[in-house]
């Protein structure tokens, strides 16, 4: 017997033939036709025009001024030619249209100019809407924002199974701005329409069909027949039902709007996030009059876009893109070996398996592995509710490994055992000789210096810190910790691995607490000092939440675990030349008693069903409470910049937002400081230092920060 050479999977060869592009050859969407840069047009044998959108020099289709100008030109031609039907389809594998090109939203300040631009876009879509031919949008993959608005301007929408629809504008502090607020509530149940636009949630094809957002769901192999049916009038089109029409009437709108506003207030306070309220107002005032609503949409969108919230959220979008780019190219590995089936290890393993990697989870305690499998099954049950097969496959790929055999063939070994230097060293000594020479060894440690772990390793250049946050499935940011001997390609591979599992890498230097914990610790400790001084915990949390934090520091400490907080604080205090408040004795007593926070059901708060029990009395935080909490965090950020723990402001702001939820609408801690003014921050810190103690003394780094930096402000 001779071994046969590795075979390519059948669909790796045939898959590219699947996409139905009518008169265009299926496996070559790049064929030349027409004078346009972003669009191609051909007529098929049934006399139906196929218009293929393939934005030049971009992997995804987005709408921009030139794209719409070309479409306008094409529509002029179609008006003259008068075909029976027009199909609009994307040539990109990922999907239909991802939305407007967000780059054009950055730094916009001129409202009048913006309104002009929007009006031109509206005119193109209105022209598409009025085209006498039957217009059919054939949609695969994502169909978001402006993409969905374009689809709504067509007569008919046919979705391929994997299509997803949504209006994510609200996540950028905006609402739809190309007629979506007008067309959607008239097509589907207005309540569902408003929910879609207010939450930014995406809907899968089946549900979109039930919502009557689309007219048919099919597979690529039947797209041709579906298009023919649509053009011939054989496809029954979804229309709004009577309930929908009734709900769109004036009195109903006013009644529903009040409910929506109070719902929105729970998640996004009006002062910080104006967009949902602007959208509700738009619908209440103009829901009955399409033309007036269109004009109002343009004005409202322009006003939101030039506002601080939208501009900061657009900044956050690019901060994320920036971190994504740090992930770089493709990670070549496929097998991750995780050592330690505790909360972090188990959850890291579960997440990697969910993302398609082959994972071995090693622990000598079989019940710990059992627990990790349970948590994985629970997580998959939630995030994979609609995908039974993916849940099965992920659980198949998550392999309990009592003997640690997985280390032999793994491309990456992640250690996530308790924070104990000797234990970690022992594990490294046992596992390193088993590993492939090209494999990477990583530690999830949050407090042990990598330099200490590196000792005695045969290949110290292949050791890196990969520091996840809890819960792994929800915290997008992961710190990639270097050490002076680490090889650059090892660090790059670690970042690429994080890109592979859909996490955002933040490169940081090996320093106590790295970036995130170092910045969070003074914030948490100050909250304890305030608690000690007799402030109500609800008031402290409220001060932080009013600032825009997703959770107050007291609740956060409980969530993270008081034992972990105490450990991190003690480590930091021991290793930093910096005045830090001592953790109060009662906290140590609490930890000793086993009152650790959420995980033990009792911490600073009592916890019930995964929620902190808070008193309902109205609390008013002290005037300087927010500054006392937030400014030490900003100060620690500046220290990290000065010491080079993190390379630049963009990574720092991104990391803090995606690891701690730092008020996104403020654009990140440094951006906030810059917006408020360094001078003001500096003066406030000095005033607080005079009043409360030297722990508030501003870091010398403030003086050397350029203010403002045009280069950093661009991100």
């Amino acid at each position: 017997m001779t071994s046969t050479p590795a075979r390519k999977p059948a669909l790796a060869i045939l898959g590219k033939r699947n996409r139905e592009l009518g008169p265009f050859a299926r496996d070559d969407a790049r064929q030349e036709s027409g004078p346009w840069a972003h669009w191609r047009m051909r007529t098929d044998e049934d006399g139906i025009v196929w218009l293929v959108f393939d934005r030049k020099d971009s992997s995804a289709n987005t709408l921009s001024e030139p794209v719409l100008a070309e479409l306008n030109d094409i529509l002029g031609r179609l008006e003259r030619d008068g075909p029976r039907g027009v199909v609009i389809r994307s040539a990109k594998p990922g999907g239909f249209i991802a939305g407007a090109d967000i780059a054009q939203f950055r730094g916009v300040t001129d409202v009048a100019e913006l309104e002009m631009l929007l009006s031109r876009g509206h005119a193109v879509l209105d022209r598409l809407d009025r085209l006498p031919a039957v217009t059919v949008a054939v949609i695969h993959g994502y169909c978001l924002g402006g993409g969905l608005e374009l689809a709504l301007a067509c007569d008919c929408r046919i979705a391929v199974d994997d299509a997803r629809f949504g209006f994510p504008e609200v996540l950028l502090g905006l609402h739809p701005g190309l007629g979506g607020t007008v067309r959607l509530p008239r097509l589907i149940n207005p309540l569902a329409a408003m929910t879609m636009m207010l939450t930014g949630r995406t809907e899968r094809a089946r549900r979109a069909r039930r919502l009557r957002l689309i007219d048919a769901v099919t597979q690529e192999r039947h797209v041709r027949a579906a298009v023919r049916a649509a053009v011939n009038g054989d496809l029954r089109r979804s229309k709004q039902d009577v309930t929908g029409t009734l709900l769109n009437s004036g009195p109903a709108r006013r009644l529903l709007a009040r409910r929506m506003a109070s719902e929105a207030a729970k998640r996004a306070p009006r002062a910080h996030y104006p967009a949902p309220y602007a959208l509700i107002d738009l619908w209440v005032e103009h829901g009955g009059d399409a033309e007036a609503m269109q004009q109002a949409e343009i004005a409202s969108f322009a006003k939101l876009l030039v506002g601080g919230t939208a501009q900061n959220l657009v900044r956050v979008f690019f901060l994320r893109e920036n971190l994504k780019k740090l992930a770089g190219g493709e990670w070549p590995g496929r097998h991750v070996h995780v050592i330690g089936a505790g909360t972090m290890g188990g959850d890291i393993a579960a997440w990697c398996a969910w993302q398609g990697l082959f994972v071995t989870l090693a622990d000598t305690n079989r019940n710990a592995i059992g627990g990790a499998i349970t948590r994985a099954a629970e997580l998959y049950g939630k995030i994979g509710r609609d995908n039974r097969l993916r849940v099965r496959d992920a659980l198949d790929r998550l392999i309990p490994d009592l003997r640690g055999d997985g280390a032999d063939n793994a491309d990456l070994v992640i250690e996530a055992v308790p924070e104990n230097l000797d234990l970690k060293r022992k594990i490294f000594a046992a596992v390193e000789p088993r590993m492939k020479p090209a494999a990477i060894l990583a530690s999830n440690t949050s407090s042990i210096p990598l330099e200490a772990l590196r000792e005695n390793l045969a290949r110290p250049q292949r050791l890196v810190g990969i520091h996840f946050f809890n819960p792994v499935s929800r915290m997008q940011l992961v710190e990639v910790v270097g050490q002076d001997l680490a090889a650059p390609d090892v660090l790059a591979e670690a970042r690429a691995f994080l890109g592979r599992i859909d996490r955002l890498p933040a490169p940081v230097k090996s320093a106590p607490g790295f970036l995130v914990n170092r910045a969070l610790t003074p914030y948490l400790l100050e909250a304890l000092v305030m608690l000690d001084a007799g402030m109500k915990k609800e008031a402290i949390d409220k001060a932080a939440k009013n600032f825009g934090m997703p959770m107050g520091p007291i609740e956060l400490a409980d969530e993270v675990g008081l034992d972990v907080c105490l450990h991190v604080a003690d480590t930091l205090r021991g290793s930093l030349h910096r005045d830090m408040p001592e953790a109060p004795q009662w906290l140590k007593d609490k930890v000793a008693k086993g009152e650790l926070g959420k995980k033990s059901g009792k911490g600073l708060y009592d916890w019930k069903d995964g929620r902190a029990v808070k008193s309902h009395e109205d609390v008013v935080p002290a005037a300087d409470a927010a500054d006392r909490l937030i400014l030490p965090m900003l100060d620690a950020c500046v220290t990290c910049l000065r010491e080079g723990v993190v390379a630049d402001e963009a990574v720092l702001d991104g990391a803090m937002i995606f690891a701690t939820g730092f008020a996104p609408f403020r654009g990140g801690p440094l951006h906030y400081a810059r917006t408020r003014g360094f001078a003001d921050i500096h003066a406030t810190l000095e005033r607080l230092a005079a009043q409360y103690g030297p722990r508030f003394a501003p870091d010398p780094g403030w003086d050397s920060l350029p203010d403002p930096t045009p280069a950093a402000a661009a991100l």
């Binding site: 079989r366 099954a377 309990p400 055999d405």
Partner: protein
């Protein structure tokens, strides 16, 4: 999945290096008509992995090894994953023939009137499900269930209730001792359930069983006078087992350490009503082909479907008339001493997942031979429907 993943994990080659997957399985569930292929794909062995399922009732797990062994011997493959699996807890409840016909008529009825008339034909008896498992364990030719065939074998060879109970108690004691001494550490993999439960040993073991305590049980199949009880029979359980078969080429190429060599195998058939004697019918010609006697075999795994059936086999080999007329020997073949037979217990304690057992006893024979330093062994089982399978193994 649960036993295949750790097995593949510790190999020096990738899961897609295999040429073929063969799985023995008796009760294939409707959702997975070819469980071998499902297992191959779910074990990450690649889309190009051919896989088929074999079924010869209680011998299926050994048939997969035998088929793999013959395929490699013919030069058609180098590396084969051969297993056995059974999920008897998933055996379906089936509807009676009458109910099935009624459904067919209902769906076939075109008009409302026709449908109504069919509906009126509904009988309460249609809702009485037939336990699929029970039907599966009954021989259709003789209409005897497996327990009844054991009663018959026991009767024909004068096996007493006391003999059977003593055998069963000893089997339980051996299994408990083997579990305690960690003899299964490298053989039994813990199974992890989605709810977090870790099943790390077979829980059918009853170490406190004695012949006296077992004597109190009521007969399970033929009341009131039968001798076969739940205590001296194998337990109906779920289970799975895999072994890796490799050619000499594959051993060299992947630098493998073989555990044992398959020397030969044999299948035989006999009257279904005494299927329990299957091991005698297949092992004897296997021995004869290699000029061996019972004494030359240092270790036996004779699947414990029923204590009465195991003892029946032993008695058959000591029976002059039977050995002469049924097996063509000159006289009684001899005695297999108890210390060479099922040294670590068997299906009475660990259970008998029918499709898996044949595979498991081969694997356990190999491991036990290695542990005890024995050179030659036979794994054999009786097969419902009147057959037997045996495999001759030598240490390397």
């Amino acid at each position: 999945m649960q036993c295949g993943r750790p097995l593949l994990l510790r190999q020096p080659f990738a899961p897609d290096a295999f040429d073929l997957v063969i799985l023995g399985c008796v009760n294939v569930i409707a959702d997975e008509m070819n469980p071998a292929r499902v297992a191959a794909l779910r074990l990450g062995m690649g889309e190009a992995m051919t896989a088929f399922t074999v079924q010869i009732n209680c011998g299926s797990g050994m048939q997969s090894i035998d088929t793999g062994y013959r395929t490699i011997r013919d030069g058609a493959a180098d590396l084969i994953l051969a297993g056995g699996a059974e999920a008897l807890s998933h055996a379906p409840l089936v509807f009676s023939r009458g109910a099935v016909n009624w459904y067919a008529r209902l769906f076939g009825a075109r008009t409302l009137g026709a449908r109504l008339s069919v509906l009126l034909g509904l009988r309460p008896a249609f809702f009485k499900p037939v336990v699929g498992l029970e039907r599966g364990l009954t021989d259709p030719i003789t209409d005897l269930n497996m327990g009844q065939t054991a009663e018959l074998v026991g009767h024909l060879f004068h096996v007493t209730r006391r003999d059977a109970d003593e055998y069963a108690a000893e089997s339980q004691r051996r299994l408990a001792a083997a579990q305690h001494d960690g003899f299964f550490a490298d053989e039994i993999e813990p199974a992890f359930a989605r709810d977090g439960t870790v099943y790390d040993h077979d829980d059918g073991v009853r170490p406190d069983s004695t012949a006296e305590s077992l004597a109190k049980l009521k007969p399970a199949f033929e009341r009131p006078w039968g001798k076969v009880t739940a205590g001296n029979s194998s337990q109906i359980t779920d289970g799975a087992s895999w072994v890796i078969l490799a050619s000499e080429d594959a051993v060299t190429r992947h630098k493998l350490t073989p555990k044992a060599v398959i020397v030969d195998s044999e299948w035989a058939a006999l009257d279904p009503s005494v299927m329990g004697l299957g091991p005698v019918y297949c092992s004897t010609p296997l021995l004869r082909r290699h000029q061996l006697t019972l004494d030359d075999v240092e270790l036996w795994e004779l699947n414990e479907a029923f204590a009465a059936q195991v003892l029946g086999c032993l008695a058959a080999w000591q029976d002059d008339e039977f050995c002469r007329d049924a097996l063509g020997l000159a006289g009684a073949a001899g005695r297999i001493p108890r210390e060479r037979l099922n040294v670590d217990g068997g299906a009475i304690g660990v259970g008998h997942p029918v499709g898996a057992s044949g595979n498991r006893i081969v694997l356990h024979l190999v491991n036990a031979m290695k542990r005890l330093g024995k050179k030659r062994g036979i794994a054999t089982e009786c097969i419902g429907g009147g057959q037997g399978g045996a495999m001759l193994i030598e240490a390397v």
